[in-house]
């Protein structure tokens, strides 16, 4: 860096540049929030789906699974599990309900959460709702 480029010029670029991009980012975030109702399937968020999200969070499902590609990479992607399971919430419930307490020998295991029938319905509805968000066609195929 040559002599004519001073520290205060560098500082001004920092302040001006950051201020500009913070502002632009906030404007785009605002625009996103306005555009979301078209994409995020919010008209289908029932009390049951809301409870499902709570069950999802209270049991830290995201600590093993990814959901829309975010989370952990130890167990299958679940944003499209509703489609993978033949659009059946019953199949999802059945899978969660039937996990053995002591796991499956030698295989990556999912805990038995002892969810109530209401919670099972809710989390399955939550996964169904998630699968219907417009996420630009991700994942590439049914395997997630």
């Amino acid at each position: 860096m040559s002599g004519t480029f001073t520290k205060s010029m560098a500082r001004n670029i920092f302040i001006g540049g950051s201020a500009f991009f913070i502002f632009l980012f906030l404007a785009l975030s605002f625009d996103t929030v306005r555009a979301l109702p078209e994409r995020d399937n919010r008209h289908n968020i029932t009390d049951q789906v809301a409870l499902g999200k709570k069950v999802w969070e209270d049991n830290n499902c995201v600590g093993c699974h990814s959901l829309m590609g975010e989370g952990a990479y130890f167990a299958p992607e679940l944003a499209n599990v509703y489609d993978r399971f033949g659009k059946s919430t019953e199949a999802i419930k059945g899978f969660i309900r039937s996990r053995p307490v002591d796991g499956i020998p030698g295989r990556r295991s999912m805990p038995q959460f002892n969810l109530s029938e209401e919670e099972l319905d809710a989390v399955a509805q939550f996964l169904k709702w998630t699968s219907e968000i417009n996420d630009a066609g991700w994942p590439p195929n049914i395997q997630g």
Partner: protein, 461 residues
């Protein structure tokens, strides 16, 4: 060490190293669960080990940043810390709160922990990296406020340098952005959108300011190059960081329901994000080449140069690898992500904290400017063991990731997740072995602190 109060950094650094060891042990547990699925099941399910691993990482890095700030700010401001007592009190509060949270993860099922800590009152739990009970999150905010107050008062009464202003900006940004962790709407898309305000804007925004400031400080001290030159570099680097990194957030908005213009914005700006990391590398090597003196603490200089290189590799190169939307469509949420996450976190933030510890600890322990040569040699061995094994961990995960993406998402006959995971098992075994080497390096690092306490390195400066 010029000011007595800088010593409060010491407990922070010791705690950081202790928690680091815990983090790695849980990393190894998970690494084994990847290949022996029922290892420690149901006692420590994978998700619990993962929370412990990642939360310990974040907490020890925060301890490291705080210790670094408590050391740097008095020296930069040329005055004693406003309140060393407050700093020490906050240390214990943070340590106890952190320990209780980890114990909570391990002792009771997560759902029970959520219930016990009143998560329903203000639900914030159960999201990646933000698993802490709401009350712990409030504790973190309180500790941050006290910390920023203490530092702010110190800066105000003393000399104001660019290094301390950049550091303070980074730390204030860290605290402010963390507030988004309290926003958890029912709408998953909104939840995810603002979750990245914490996670991305931390590691690819304000934390880079902290990284830059610490690196600048250590380079000023160890090379003796004129502060004006170093601070000018610092401003240019962090300007590029925020110019590219803020809109770069878009690389997380491709497939979570946000409008599709983010594919273009995110790709363009995040593709530029390696620039500040590259500048950091050029900067560090330039300053060391132009050094006015040979600092006796060669280990610290090695850590500083290592940070600059590994941050560029992990964040810059491995970030670029999967950041363009058409590539990310296939790699999103795969082992490629994990490979990048490991090298970036290690190269940028683990290494900068270890740089600062390496530079300051000898002085805080009354050993003049550096440890004995013997101790430094062991420390440098630890540097190489950890760094090289992290390179291998990254390469093995990248190998697993490429196969995973091909078999599960790209080939003509895509296979199920669990089937593919079994096929790439060999890579996970090799990752685990590399992890054991990493642990060896870390233990050697701890050993280096106990070597040659009596003999000081001769001053060549």
């Amino acid at each position: 060490m010029k000011y007595q109060s800088q010593l409060v950094a010491k407990p922070y650094f010791i705690a950081a190293i202790g928690l680091f060891i815990g983090q790695i042990i849980f990393g190894l547990i998970m690494g084994l669960q990847y290949v022996i699925g029922d290892f420690l099941f149901p006692e420590i399910p994978f998700n619990v080990a993962r929370m412990v691993h990642t939360n310990l990482l974040i907490v020890w890095l925060l301890f490291g940043f705080m210790g670094s700030a408590y050391y740097m700010i008095p020296e930069e401001s040329e005055t004693e810390l406003y309140s060393p007592k407050l700093a020490l009190a906050l240390f214990w509060i943070f340590l106890v709160a952190g320990a209780l949270t980890i114990v909570g993860y391990l002792a009771v099922p997560y759902a029970r922990l959520a219930e016990m800590t009143g998560n329903d009152l203000l639900p914030t739990m159960g999201r990646e990296f933000l698993e802490q009970p709401t009350i712990t999150k409030i504790g973190i905010v309180v500790v941050c406020l006290g910390f920023l107050f203490n530092l702010g008062m110190t800066v105000l009464k003393g000399r104001k340098t660019s290094v301390s202003l950049v550091l303070m900006t980074g730390l204030v940004g860290l605290a402010l952005l963390f507030l988004f962790s309290f926003y958890n709407p029912t709408n998953l898309v909104l939840d995810k959108f603002f979750w990245w305000y914490v996670v991305h804007l931390w590691v690819e925004g304000v934390w880079e300011l902290i990284l830059g400031a610490i690196l600048a400080f250590v380079l000023i001290k160890t090379t003796g190059v004129d502060r004006e030159v170093i601070e000018k570099w610092l401003y240019v680097i962090i300007a590029m960081t925020l110019i590219t990194g803020i809109l770069g957030t878009g690389h997380h908005y491709y497939w979570i329901g946000a409008p599709e213009y983010w594919q273009l914005i995110g790709s363009v700006f995040s593709a530029l994000e390696p620039i500040p990391f590259f500048m950091m590398t050029v900067f560090a090597f330039n300053m060391v080449n132009k050094r006015r003196r040979d600092h006796p603490n060669r280990a610290a200089v090695l850590w500083a140069l290592g940070t600059a290189v590994m941050a560029f590799l992990g964040a810059g190169v491995w970030g670029f690898l999967h950041t363009l939307a058409p590539v990310n469509f296939y790699t999103h949420g795969s082992q490629i992500t994990a490979a990048h996450g490991h090298m970036a976190f290690y190269g940028a933030y683990v290494m900068i904290v270890l740089t600062m510890i390496s530079y300051t600890m000898p002085m805080m322990r009354g050993r003049a400017a550096a440890n004995s040569l013997k101790s430094q040699v062991v420390e440098m061995w630890a540097f190489w063991l950890m760094t090289v094994s992290m390179v291998f961990i990254t390469l093995f995960l990248t190998g697993a990731g490429i196969l995973q993406v091909y078999l599960q998402r790209y080939s003509d006959a895509p296979q199920a997740f669990m089937v593919v995971q079994e096929k790439v098992e060999l890579f996970y075994w090799m990752r685990e072995y590399a992890g054991l080497v990493f642990l060896t390096g870390l233990l050697l690092y701890v050993v280096s602190f106990f070597i040659g306490g009596k003999e000081h390195a001769e001053q060549r400066a």
